[in-house]
Symmetry: C2
Subunit: 329 residues, 2 copies
C-alpha cells in the first residue's frame, strides 16, 4: 500500500483509451501514482499521460503480474465497447469484457487489493420506459455490450459482499468533449459529436439523423451528454468514497437531454460550418430519450458536473479535433 494516505498507488486498465487517458491525467494532477495497463487493441500508446508508468498487456494478466507490488486500487476502463460489433461477435465481449474482468477480480482478491472503480454503462438499462433513469431502474440490456457490462457489475457485487472489496461502478451516459491533449480517437467512431465534427473537417460529406419522428420536441432522439473531465472527476470521488464490502452504483450524466438536432446546431455554431444533415430511418433499439438521474452521485459522492453546457462540450471536442488534424491523426 502507498504510505501517504492521500497519495494512492493505482492501476488504470485501458488508460491509453479515451476516458481512461483523461482519468489518468486527472489522477496524476491530483498527486496519485498511476500505472497504465493497456493492450493497445483500441488505445494509443501516445495517449498515455506523461507521468504515468505504462505496461502494455492484457487487463487481467498484466494487472495480475503488477498487483504484487502493492496497489491501493484499480480503475478498470479496459473493455470492448462497440455496440454493433457486440451483436455480430458476442464471444469477443464475453471473453474480452466478462472473463477478463472475473480474472481481474480474482487477481485483486489474491493480492488483497482493496479498491475497484469500474466503467459500467447506461446500456445495462436497455430501453427504459421512463426517463430520467435512476440506478433502481430494471437492468434489461438490449445489446451484448450492455449485457457484458451488467454481468461484470453483478460479479463485482458478489466479490465485494464476499471478500470485502470496496467497489464503485459508474454508469456512463454519452461521454463527450476532450481534456487537454486527450480526447476521442476511435478507429471505429460511433459517437455523435465526433461524427458531426468529421463533417466540419471535410472527412464526411454529411451527418445522418436516424429518425425524426420520435416523441420529442424536435422529433430527434434525446441523449444525455457528459463532459469527459466531469466524468473523470467522478472517478476520483468514487475512489475516496468506496467502502469495504460495498458495491455502489452511480449513474453519470448531466440530467439534461439534448436532441440530435440540438447537437448538430451546437456544432454549426462552434465550427462555423453548415454541416449538412440527412434524415434516415430510425435504427432498431434506439430509444427516444435516454437521460440520467444522477441524484445519487450528487448526494453520496458530492459530485457535480461543472461542464454541462453543450456548446462548451462541443468547443472542447472541436479544439481537440483540430489539434489532431494538425498532427495528421
Amino acid at each position: 500500500m502507498a504510505s501517504d494516505s492521500s497519495r494512492l498507488k493505482l492501476i488504470v486498465t485501458g488508460g491509453a483509451g479515451y476516458v481512461g487517458s483523461v482519468c489518468t491525467a486527472r489522477l496524476l494532477e491530483a498527486g496519485h501514482e498511476v500505472v497504465v495497463v493497456d493492450d493497445l487493441s483500441t488505445g494509443h500508446a501516445d495517449a498515455v499521460p506523461d507521468g504515468a508508468r505504462f505496461v502494455e498487456g492484457d487487463a487481467a494478466d498484466a494487472t495480475a503480474s503488477l498487483l504484487g507490488e502493492g496497489f491501493d486500487g484499480v480503475l478498470h476502463f479496459a473493455a470492448k465497447s462497440l455496440v454493433g460489433e457486440s451483436m455480430q461477435d458476442p464471444a469477443k465481449y464475453w471473453h474480452g469484457n466478462v472473463i477478463t474482468s472475473i480474472r481481474l477480480l480474482d487477481a485483486m482478491r489474491a493480492h488483497g487489493t482493496p479498491r475497484l472503480v469500474f466503467s459500467s454503462t447506461a446500456a445495462t438499462y436497455g430501453e427504459p420506459e421512463r426517463s430520467p433513469i435512476p440506478e433502481t431502474a430494471p437492468t434489461m440490456p438490449t445489446n451484448t455490450y450492455g449485457a457484458s457490462k451488467l454481468a461484470i457489475d453483478h460479479a463485482i457485487t458478489s466479490y465485494a459482499r464476499a471478500h470485502g472489496l470496496a467497489a464503485v461502478s459508474l454508469r456512463y451516459f454519452n461521454v463527450a468533449g476532450a481534456y487537454g491533449r486527450f480526447g476521442e480517437r476511435h478507429t471505429t467512431e460511433t459517437h455523435l459529436i465526433p461524427l458531426v465534427l468529421q463533417v466540419a473537417t471535410g472527412d464526411r460529406p454529411h451527418i445522418s439523423i436516424f429518425g425524426e419522428d420520435y416523441p420529442t420536441d424536435d422529433g430527434t432522439a434525446v441523449r444525455d451528454y457528459i463532459h469527459v473531465a466531469d466524468l473523470a472527476d467522478a472517478h476520483l470521488l468514487a475512489l475516496t468514497h468506496a467502502r469495504a464490502g460495498e458495491h455502489r452504483i452511480y449513474n453519470l450524466g448531466n440530467g439534461t437531454g439534448f436532441s440530435v438536432r440540438q447537437v448538430i446546431e451546437a456544432c454549426r455554431t462552434v465550427t462555423g460550418h453548415p454541416i449538412p444533415a440527412e434524415v434516415a430511418p430510425r435504427r432498431a433499439g434506439d430509444p427516444a430519450i435516454l437521460v440520467a438521474a444522477s441524484d445519487r452521485a450528487r448526494e453520496e459522492l458530492g459530485w457535480k458536473p461543472e461542464r454541462a453546457d453543450l456548446e462548451g462540450i462541443v468547443r472542447d471536442a472541436w479544439r481537440f479535433t483540430q489539434e489532431r488534424k494538425a498532427l495528421g491523426g
Copy 2:
C-alpha cells in the same frame, strides 16, 4: 447429425444430477440417443440412467471433445447451484457456471451444434414485487447463483442472435418429487421437501420454519413446487420447439403456491410421522411469495404440468427417500 429426424443425438451435461438424470431417463424413453457429461462434483455415477453413454468430465472441455462426433443438441444442466455457497464463494459460480457456459457456447458454435436447452432459474428475478411472475418481469437477482444464471441467459441470447443457435432457457421454480429411481441426492440439501422428509426418517430432529409473519394465508412463505417429471417433459418440448436464431425463455412452475406449513402438512399425511416444526426468524432475502406465471410455456410449448398435486409430489419424494434409505444412501 442423427439421420432419423425424430431420434435426436444429444449431450446432457449434469446428467448424473437430480434434474439431469430424470431428464435423461425421459429422453431415453422418448427414443433419443444420450451422452451424459458430468464431473461428479455433486452428481452420482450410479444416477446416470441405463442406456445413456457416460463421459466423466467438465461440461465445457468434455463436451467440446465430444461435439465433433456430430450432435443435434446439448441440454446444459451442469452447474453450481447452492445459493448460500454462491454468496460465500462467488468465484466458484462465475467460473463454474458463467465461464464454463461461455466455453460451451464457443464449442457448440465451432462444431455447428444447432440446439441448446439451458437450466435457468427463478432466482434470476430476485424478489419481484408482484406474483405470479411472468418472463417479462425485471431480472434483478439478489444472490450470486441467480446472477450467474442470468449472465448465461444473456450470453445465450447473444450467441443465438449472432450465430443462429436455436436456444431455450427454462426458469425453474421449486423442483420436487422423484421419477423412478431418480430423485434428490444432494450432499448439501437445501430444499424444503427432502429436509422435511429427513425428519420423517429420523435423520433430523425437527424442521425449521423461517418466518411465520409473512403476508400470506398462514404467515409462512409460499413457493411454487413443480414435479421433476413435469419439468423434464418441458425440456423434451423445448428441444422440438427451439428455432434457429432465437432464444426463448420460459418459466416453469405449477402456477399454484403452497406455503411451508402446507408442505409440512402434506408430508405428515404421506409419511404418517408427526414431523415436529420449530419457528425461526425469517431468512434475509426470502420473499413472501414466489409463484410462476407459466402461460408462455403452456401456449408456445403446449406444456402442461400433469403432476401438480402436492401430496402426489411428496408421495413420489417419500417413496424415493425410503428406497435410498433401504440402499443405505
